[in-house]
């Protein structure tokens, strides 16, 4: 019975007079941020073979915010990003981008086209192509097959690429193969690719891993300057770095949010001290070294 | 009438026969007549012989049936050809005394054809109705079922009362019932009872008789026969189902054998070994070579061949791993191409060494024939053994991977190579050993396949696509998946075959797998979690 009812309901839904059919409706790309909130993550659950990677996780991010996510290995940071960007399907929960975009029923490409950019833990660039090509590919354009086939670079686009090149400091290397760049440069290129796409929300996974102190400083500057116009979520192990950029910090532990607040609030939070910072506070030097060693 | 005479001979003359036969055989004019007789003339001669000599003629008939009866060109006396420790010797067929100094040139074979063989079997059966062994008696009765004439029935009738063995008695009863049911002279109730009795038999001859009875003039008989047939059909169908299931399992076991090795090299190591089929082929050729080296011990050759094939293919696998695959680590597509090249080289190598012709691998006697459960259900022994063998190999492998240190290392390397390396596992060594293990098992599969199919340079080609399908369908890296996939594909193919034919069944299964993989790219039993990506 219920199957028939469902079908009828579906049919009714399809033929509602007040709506056009979904496939005829213009795709809405505008993100509704009337509530000043750009990302709603509610009740996320995900388990791999019995291991709970995400456990009833709730997270809200304001529009234009710079948010840092911290947490021990296995706390669910990367998995959370995977779910938001559509790489991994979650078991239950909701993820909304603005008020109107349900991210869970979209694939990676669609999510990216909505304006969510992601940088991976390990820098991933198109190594066999030049820096310039890498950025050209990332430009915010129509990414359908036919438009891409017949597209040509417009002067505005070239200017935009030049601008990005300048920002990430790779202007001199524009015709070099991306694979020949140093590790830090690749990290920058990847960030540059995000910038070229002109996203609303940036998810950045460990941006300063393997960078020299100067590079780290430059990255911090860049990220801070991005916030406001765009929303940035950074996952980072380097506490020094987090402290230097963060306004709000969220601590994840065993797949759910443990604490949220400013760096100072976090540092004084009892739970956090117990499970994460506590250990590090006790032996902070060693801990940070270990973390860096792991990333290198 | 002649059967009765034969019977009397055996019944009353048993004691004197052996002596008499030994004396008389060589002088018997009929015997010399056999030498050089034409096919047409042989039946009357043999009739005469059977009539005169009764059971004593059996050794001669057996030798003749086996095609081992010869006559000496010089004096037309008969000898049997025997094989003793690889040498051909000639003996008197009756008293087994060696006839010395005969070579192949001095004798000529007495030829038999199908008509003669049929005659001989029947004649032997009649004589054997009184044999000592109940088994022989039973098979003799069964043999006679299709050719029941009045004489035979009378003979069986006379023996029926005295028969002590239940099985033989049952068979004889069946023969009598068949006779009763078919003879129109007898009364209707008698016939109906006989028909009723026939309905519990699965014997094909009984069924054929019933089928003819459904066209009888008497409606009562027709009705009884029809219902009896239905009853038989019901039971037969059940057994037919089991039969088909067995075929499926057997095909599955072949697929399993062919793909377990691949499940290791592909599933655990992630190496696409297109030369996997050639590892199977090497195993099969090893069997051939082993049999060549021990021609008189074919029955035991398999036990030598299994470890030998494991070693040959395993070593070849290690060689390939060391020379080629090692350098292509992490480049699966290149590995695929390189190993394809290796497969071409190995095929051509075998072709150059052993010639492109198929090689002859004999089946040990204990693997030939079939296990007859009842007249409609018999399982062929070689397939039964191979099924058991496949399962044995599978579980042995599971134990090796679970319980031994090699297994531990293999699993460690397959799950996290760098970590294993950091823990002091010699990954190179483990790689080589794993590849050797996978290839060695393929070699063992070759031994089994040599019992079923051609041993030729193309042997491996025939199985490579199927084994890849099995592994992919079951889920890479999952041995249990391989097991389930092999058997389900085998059974599916066999159940499709009767309706679609063999070709279409193969196509349907392939298309199904292609579609299935689109739906579940990781196979039946996928590995989950982040490690899998």
């Amino acid at each position: 019975m219920s199957a028939i009812e469902n079908t009828v309901e579906n049919l009714r839904e399809t033929f509602r007079r007040d709506q056009v059919w979904p496939f005829l409706a213009p795709t809405q790309t505008k993100v509704n941020v009337d509530n000043q909130m750009i990302l709603y993550v509610e009740g996320l659950n995900l388990s791999f073979d019995g291991f709970k990677a995400l456990n009833n996780l709730n997270l809200y991010v304001n529009d234009g915010e710079l948010r840092c996510l911290i947490g021990a290995n296995g706390a669910g940071k990367t998995t959370l990003m995977d779910v938001i960007t559509g790489k991994t399907q979650c078991d239950s929960g909701t993820v909304f981008f603005g008020q109107n975009h349900n991210l869970l029923n979209k694939d990676e490409a669609e999510i990216a086209q909505l304006g969510i950019g992601r940088k991976f833990q390990k820098p991933t660039v198109f190594e066999e192509q030049t820096v310039f090509d890498n950025l050209e590919l990332s430009l915010k354009t129509d990414k359908g097959v036919l438009p891409t086939l017949f597209s040509r670079l417009t002067p505005t686009q070239i200017d935009r690429i030049d601008e990005v090149l300048k920002i990430i400091g790779l202007a001199k290397h524009r015709f070099m193969l991306a694979g020949a760049l140093s590790h830090g440069q690749k990290q920058w290129l990847e960030i540059g690719m995000l910038l070229a796409a002109d996203p609303r929300l940036l998810l950045i996974d460990e941006p300063v891993a393997g960078m020299t102190p100067q590079e780290t400083e430059k990255t911090a500057e860049l990220l801070t300057s991005l916030a406001g116009e765009r929303t940035v979520i950074v996952v980072e192990h380097d506490m020094e770095f987090v402290r230097s950029i963060a306004r709000t910090v969220t601590v994840l532990h065993q797949g759910s949010v443990l604490a949220e607040g400013t760096m100072d609030q976090i540092q004084s939070n009892k739970d956090v001290i117990e499970v994460y910072l506590g250990e590090e506070a006790g032996e902070s030097e060693v801990g940070e070294d270990a973390v860096e060693g792991e990333n290198a | 009438m002649r059967h009765l005479i034969a019977l009397c001979c055996c019944l009353f003359g048993l004691l004197s026969f052996s002596v008499q036969a030994a004396e008389s055989s060589q002088q018997d004019p009929f015997l010399t007549e056999l030498a050089g007789a034409k096919f047409k003339d042989m039946v009357p001669i043999l009739d005469q012989l059977a009539e005169i000599q009764g059971e004593a003629i059996l050794p001669l008939f057996h030798t003749l049936l086996g095609g081992d009866l010869y006559y000496i060109k010089a004096d037309k006396s008969l000898v049997g050809q025997f094989d003793e420790q690889g040498a051909t010797v000639y003996k008197d067929v009756f008293n087994q005394t060696l006839v010395p100094n005969l070579s192949k040139r001095d004798v000529k074979k007495i030829r038999v054809n199908n008509t003669l063989r049929g005659y001989l079997r029947n004649a032997i059966a009649q004589i054997q109705l009184t044999a000592k062994s109940p088994k022989v008696r039973e098979s003799a009765v069964r043999e006679l079922l299709s050719k029941l004439d009045a004489d035979t029935v009378a003979l069986i009738e006379s023996l029926y009362a005295k028969e002590t063995n239940n099985k033989v008695k049952e068979a004889m009863g069946l023969a009598l019932s068949m006779h009763t049911a078919s003879s129109t002279e007898l009364t209707l109730p008698n016939r109906l009872v006989a028909i009723e009795r026939l309905s519990s038999s699965l014997e094909g001859d009984a069924r054929n008789l019933l089928t003819t009875l459904t066209k009888d003039e008497n409606p009562a008989i027709v009705k009884a026969a029809t219902s009896a047939l239905e009853k038989i059909a019901q039971r037969a169908n059940r057994f037919a189902f089991i039969d088909q299931l067995f075929f499926g399992l057997s095909l599955g076991s072949v697929l399993l054998l062919a793909s377990i090795g691949l499940a290791i090299t592909f599933g655990v190591m992630g190496v696409i070994n297109m030369a996997h089929g050639e590892m199977i082929m090497l195993g099969a050729y090893t069997t051939y070579v082993v049999q060549l080296m021990m021609p008189n011990y074919i029955d035991y050759s398999i036990w030598v061949a299994i470890p030998a094939a494991f070693l040959v293919s395993g070593l070849m696998g290690i060689l390939i791993e060391r020379l080629v695959i090692r350098h292509l680590h992490g480049r699966p597509l290149e590995t695929l191409l390189a190993t394809f090249g290796i497969s071409l080289i190995l095929q051509q190598l075998v072709r150059s060494i052993f010639s492109p012709l198929n090689r002859q691998v004999s089946t040990p006697s204990w693997m030939s024939g079939s296990w007859e459960i009842n007249p409609v259900l018999s399982l062929t022994l070689n397939r039964l053994y191979i099924l058991a063998f496949a399962l044995l190999v599978f579980f042995a492998l599971v134990i090796v991977l679970r319980k031994t240190s090699l297994g531990l290392n293999v699993r460690a390397v397959s799950q996290n190579r760098n970590m294993a390396k950091a823990m002091g596992v010699k990954t190179h060594w483990v790689d080589a050993m794993t590849f050797g293990l996978g290839s060695g098992i393929a070699g063992i599969a070759g031994v089994a396949l040599s019992q079923l199919t051609n041993v030729g340079p193309n042997l491996g080609q025939a199985y490579i696509i199927d084994s890849f399908m099995v592994v992919v369908f079951g889920g890479v890296g999952n041995l249990l998946g391989t097991l389930v996939a092999a058997f389900s594909l085998g059974i599916a193919t066999k159940f499709l075959e009767p309706t679609t034919g063999a070709v279409l069944a193969a196509i349907i299964v392939l298309v199904f797998i292609i579609l299935f993989i689109q739906k579940r790219p990781k196979g039946l039993f996928p590995q989950k979690g982040r490690a899998a990506e």
């Binding site: - | 002859q360 062929t380 063999a502």
Partner: protein, 427 residues
Amino acid sequence: MKIKTLVSAIALSGATLIALPSMAADTIKVGVLHSLSGTMAISETTLKDTVLMMVEEQNKKGGLLGKKLEAVVVDPASNWPLFAEKGRELLTQEKVDVIFGSWTSVSRKSVLPVLEELNGLMFYPVQYEGEESSKNVFYTGAAPNQQAIPAVDYLMNDLGVERFVLAGTDYVYPRTTNKILEAYLKAKGVAAQDIMINYTPFGHSDWQSIVSDVKKFGGEGKKTAVVSTINGDANVPFYKELGNQGISAEDIPVVAFSVGEEELSGLDTTPLVGHLAAWNYFQSVESDANDEFITQWKAFTKDSNRVTNDPMEATYIGFKMWANAVTDAGTTDVDAVEQAMIGQETENLTGGIAVMNKNHHLSKPVLIGEIQDDGQFEVVWETDGVVAGDAWSDFLPGSKDLISDWTAPIKCGNYNTKTKACSGQNY
């Protein structure tokens, strides 16, 4: 710089191609077009060796027309389009006077247009489905009426077989043969339900269900036989399964048209004793010519275990006839040799005389043999005289009105006796 290298690379390959050797020595060239690699190599290498042996022998006798023979061997690698290409190579580059070659029907069909275009001459030595007669091909193997029909006659008349299983590999030879047999059997009064037809793919190896079906089909009271057109590799597992399921030759004899001595050499024949094969030649036939041929063959291959088979005899007859025809015609010119071929007579290895008919097919005796435990056949039946090969079967609706006659005035491979026209071809 780059362009230069590129040019030279392409020019180089082009130049070597163009400058293929075109020697013109004073020999008669015999082309051998048999696969030496690939799936058909199993069967065809033997025939290549046979031709080489015959050439060697002919040269010992002083060659032909005062010239030595020279064999030109190419390898079409069991790749059918390559047969056409290599055929063209033999005819235009090597300029051979005759070709001995092909095994499968498809390879013959592939090379046929080339032969007709370039007016070459080929001898095809394998039993085949018939339905063809080309001016440029001589068919020395058996046509269906020289193998299948006598075999079925034997089954019906001598063994009293009433039910038939026609089992074959799914390709044109079994299809056609079975079509012919089906029509023939029905004409002889065999009911449709007493004929079971089954096709399997090439190299089929799992025969359990089919053999079990045959067993069931044969257990229904009437004497049953299997007529097998199963090809090559699939035979070994088929016979193994027969043996294991306990189907003996006395119960259900199998008569095969593609199983000869060579196929049996890869098989333990003990369980198969009594199964039948129909051929025009068996190695076991005792005759002086055959003994000589076998001795010569074993010496040539330096292998005392090598067996001989029917396609070898067909090659032998073809070669002898060609040599005679060249001598008679006094030239190797294809048209002259073609006419001289018709009516040529050569002694069979099994005794009797083979005659080349007007339709380019041979008249040969038909033998039926039973498999023995030593892998040889024992002849159990043979036709009284020779049987003339029939290019077009009388039992197929499409071809019953067709005949082939390459002598004047008809000179046509597919002459319709009703419309009195040469259909197709002459355009």
